[in-house]
Amino acid sequence: MNKFLAVVKHEYKKVVLKWSFLIGTLLLPVMAVVFSVVPALIFSIKGEPTRIAIVDPTDNVASRLKANLSSEKMAERAKKAAEESLKNLSPDQQRQLETSAAQFQDNFIFVEVDPSGRSVEELRQSLLSRVSANEIDAYLIVPNDINAVDAVFEFRSRKSSDFISNETFRDALNSAVRSVRLANENISEEKLAELSRPIKFDAKGLDETGAEKDTSGVMIASFIIGLLIYITLAIYGQAIMGAVVEEKETRIAEILFSSARPFELMLGKLVGVGLAGLTQLGIWIATIAVVIGVMATQADFAPIMQSVPTISPLMIVCFMLFFLVGFFTYAAIFALVGSMVTSLQEGSQFAFPPIMLMLVGFYFSFAVIRDPGSTLSFWVSIAPFLAPITMPVRILAEMPPFWQILLSLGINVAAIAGLVWVTSRVYRVGMLMYGKRATIPEVWKWIRQA
């Protein structure tokens, strides 16, 4: 037992104290933060205000447009949008919204233009020259008859790629023109708002028991968890294979086998590297939890937060368990391959079948995401080799009945027991065979004989 623990400790330290582990462990959370937080930060940086000249023969549209682009109006709109997607705003979130709306305040500076009898063409030329002279950034020419079918609003801007401002501007213009038209038809703005109020579409999924749950975001989260497990299994599986091949190549196996039982050595290796993997996964889960926790207090992320599926501690326990199941399944296969081959290059060729198996599991997880309750989902989430990837995905998409999780664990643990048994037999013979790669019939013989 002491020797087994010595092997576990040795293998654990060997993985965890490597630079690649540290980098890999830190890189993922850092990248997650970079990809989630940085774009939002960049977009929130206020651009230079756009200096805009408006040519409007009646000034009806222009005055309404200016009002629409005022900070009060902007704040009101943002609040309305937020209220539509969020049920309740906390006072804190309310304050956040107001500050972000205030940012729009100075986004547009209106430059007066005096049309005074000049033709549209003359005005356009003068505006263009002011743009070239860097006096204004953009201009808008409102057509004489805004009700005409072919009425065109000419908007030219040097900042044509500032899509956020352009979008805001277009919305404001649209609503300004609409209210001019309504006024012409003697319909009050309030009346229209009342009539054109959008319906409240309350879309939610139902789980087995008929309880409501949010489905938005589940798909992305399921995909991420499937991918994460697949990548981790592939990396750690190959790490195990590398370690086995090294011990074989350098003939360390001879010293090891003269010190401890091959079974102890192999199991110790699997457990040690498995714990290292669990450490990494734990760090990641903790980081994600912290990031989500921080995001939950920020109103800016409220719409994103809303779609993050609730993950219960039970789910995390399940993920950890299935990660371990997957780890032992594939690590045993990779260790078996490692003890058959003579070099790492040869090993990478033979790593193809287990990698394929993992990929199959990963692809099946798409079917599981689409319909977690289907018969196919049931079978692939209890099947050995596939379950380690498909079951966590299924749990996230829709919690299956508890007995199915237990059945899946049972089947997979039994498969692992068989695999470890086979691998330890191949390991104790294969590790002492030098010079040539073992053939499948040979390996079969070792399994039966040893």
């Binding site: 010595a6 350098t250 003939r251 001879e254 010293i255 003269s258 401890a260 002492l432």
Partner: protein, 303 residues
């Protein structure tokens, strides 16, 4: 030969499928003596050693260390230096030694104390934190040797321990072996270099093609082969040397000849005859056959 028998090998046979690697092998190894385990490549040396250290187990027969069958429990009392040496490439010397010690049941402060002691003795203390890839071949060999003795084994099995070592380190290793011998430990020394075996070993076992060929103390073996061998240097002996009733075979060395006398010829008689016929003798010495000769003769016999 009153030293205690520590290792007993009895009627051991090991087969791999159709191939018999070791057949009906029996021998004893005694404490306080160096036991030379000799044989050509493929004779079954490695297979036998692997059975002694508990890597594989005999099909029939048994091996006992101090009266206890070889098992994983006994492994902690064995120190094994394999012929093919291996260290983890990217691991610090200290970490490797700690791991190998832990696998032999020595851990913690005790292990560190012993590691420091041995690294100091081998003049490798400065290399403690270095990785294997930073070490020279000879240094790696010494590290490997330290790993073999860290757990203070009762029996030391050294497979070609001198290959790749410079003369200073060979001398050093010999000293350590001598130390172990005087501490009444058991030492098995496997090699195909007969000259080294001759210098070191008290007992010899020669195996070839899975079977025992010669065994016993080096003294006895040599005596049993050394009855009729003369180292000769002189002039005017051509006639006598070509007389096959006296000389069976002559092996010429650089400045002397090795005369294999015919059966029943008394060296005394030959010397008298040489003196009588006026041969000028500068050297006439009864010698023992080298281990190499015995080895070659015995291995050839079987073919």
């Amino acid at each position: 030969m009153d030293d205690k028998v520590t290792l007993q090998i009895r009627t051991v046979t090991k087969k791999f499928g159709e191939f018999t690697a070791v057949e009906d092998l029996s021998f004893d190894v005694r404490a306080g003596r160096v036991f030379g385990f000799l044989g050509p490549n493929g004779a079954g040396k490695t297979t036998t050693i692997r059975m002694i250290v508990g890597i594989t187990f005999p099909d029939t027969g048994f091996i006992e260390l101090n009266g206890e069958r070889i098992s994983h429990r006994v492994q902690n009392r064995i120190g094994y230096l394999p012929e093919e040496r291996g260290l983890y490439k990217k691991m610090a010397v200290l970490d490797q030694l700690r791991y190998f010690a832990a696998l032999k049941g020595v851990a913690g402060k005790e292990a560190d104390k012993r590691i420091d002691h041995w690294l100091g003795r081998m003049e490798l203390s400065d290399w403690k934190k270095k990785k294997t890839t930073d070490l020279s071949k000879g240094m790696q060999q010494k590290i490997q040797f330290i790993a073999t003795v860290l757990h203070e084994p009762d029996i030391l099995i050294l497979d070609e321990p001198f290959s790749g070592l410079d003369p200073i380190n060979v001398e050093f290793l010999m000293d350590v072996i001598a130390e172990y011998r005087s501490a009444e430990k058991t030492i098995i020394f496997s090699t195909h270099l007969m000259s080294t075996a001759e210098k070191l070993c008290h007992d010899i076992l020669l195996i070839n093609k899975a079977r025992k060929v010669v065994s016993g103390s080096l003294r006895e073996i040599k005596e049993s082969y050394g009855q009729n061998l003369i180292a000769f240097r002189g002039t005017g002996a051509e006639d006598i040397l070509s007389d096959t009733s006296f000389i069976e075979r002559i092996v010429s060395h650089a400045d002397e000849q090795e005369l294999h006398l015919a059966k029943g010829v008394d060296p005394q008689e030959l010397l008298k005859k040489m003196v009588d016929t006026g041969v000028v003798i500068s050297k006439f010495e009864r010698t023992e056959p080298s281990l190499n000769d015995i080895f070659i003769e015995k291995v050839k016999d079987k073919e």
